[in-house]
């Protein structure tokens, strides 16, 4: 049984090749880079919507890509429980396509911010986090201008255990200085109720090789390893 992962190439995506590199060369899984109009769900066990600036993020990050036929295909995967990960712009697309609830607004500072931060694992039962421990703190970089998560229904999100990651300090506290964008409740990533679809602003593909990490960590790799493991379990 070979597992096949698709990384969707939306017009303007720019972390697509990075995700492909990590999946193929670091995690070692069969991965295809698929142009958004050509994507057919039937060929894949999991899909990644990479970061970047789909359609320049004009009007609002992710909104134009959310109307791509690729999302109709992905919706089938969503329904039958296959894993879907949205990284940064991919998260924004998942929100705009209503795979995930809420909105991602312009950072409070009105500035793009690129830096290494820490996130704490809140929900470790999703397709992308089940190899993590609850309350683990991961070192991972962010790079975005519209990542301030907002929902008018925080309670429901909490009750359904849909908050997956929150920005924290290195020792795991949710102080406001650990919040790089003014995001609601330090939220960095969420999932759907069924937990097969996760979206987050930080970039696991940039945190998967020690050579790129300030402290030589490889926390980003666990996202992809969890996904592979999740797929294997589903298939058996």
């Amino acid at each position: 049984m070979t597992i096949k992962i698709a990384v969707i190439q939306f017009p303007g995506a720019n972390c697509d090749l990075d995700a492909v590199h990590v999946l193929r060369n670091v995690v070692g899984v069969d991965t295809s880079l698929v142009w958004h109009n050509h994507f057919k769900e039937a060929n894949f066990d999991g899909v990644i919507l990479p970061g970047g600036f789909s359609f320049g993020d004009y009007l609002r990050a992710g909104i134009i890509a959310a109307h791509s036929p690729a999302l109709d295909e992905a919706r089938i995967m969503l329904k039958d429980g296959r894993p879907i990960l949205g990284i940064c712009n991919g998260f924004q697309i998942l929100i705009e396509a209503e795979f995930l609830p809420g909105a991602l607004l312009q950072n409070e500072s009105l500035k793009f911010v690129c830096k290494w931060v820490n996130i704490k694992v809140i929900n470790n039962r999703t397709a992308f986090t089940h190899k993590m421990k609850k309350d683990d703190v991961l070192a991972i970089p962010i790079a975005h201008g519209e990542g301030r998560y907002y929902t008018d229904n925080l309670k429901e999100l909490e009750e359904n255990d849909q908050i997956v990651f929150k920005y924290s300090t290195e020792d795991g506290s949710f102080k406001s200085e650990a919040n790089p964008t003014g995001t609601l409740e330090n939220i960095a990533g969420i999932c759907n109720i069924e937990q097969n679809c996760v979206g987050l602003m930080p970039h696991p593909e940039r945190a998967s090789e020690s050579i790129l990490s300030p402290k030589q960590t490889t926390h980003g790799r666990i996202f992809f390893e969890s996904m592979i493991d999740f797929i294997k379990r589903r298939l058996t």
């Binding site: 009007l59 809420g102 909105a103 409070e108 907002y150 008018d152």
Partner: protein, 89 residues
Amino acid sequence: MAQMEFIIEISLENKPAARDPVAETIKRDLLAKKGYDNVSKVRSGQYLRLILKANNEEDAKEIVTKMCNALRLFNPVTQTLNIISVKKL
């Protein structure tokens, strides 16, 4: 009936609960600049002006409203759609 062209202006604004950092920054900068304390409120949004064919003004409004909803030109969780004006071209 022959269709006519209409010019229609809309704004997409953040709901108050979702905050409006652009407006907040403008207000803060205004305070710092002094001399603009007569400005009491600022809201910001995205502005779009479209030219489209419709039967009449009402029809134009309806087309635009439907389109904005169908395409999610605004995110209903945090934004509102506001039709500023419709004029025959």
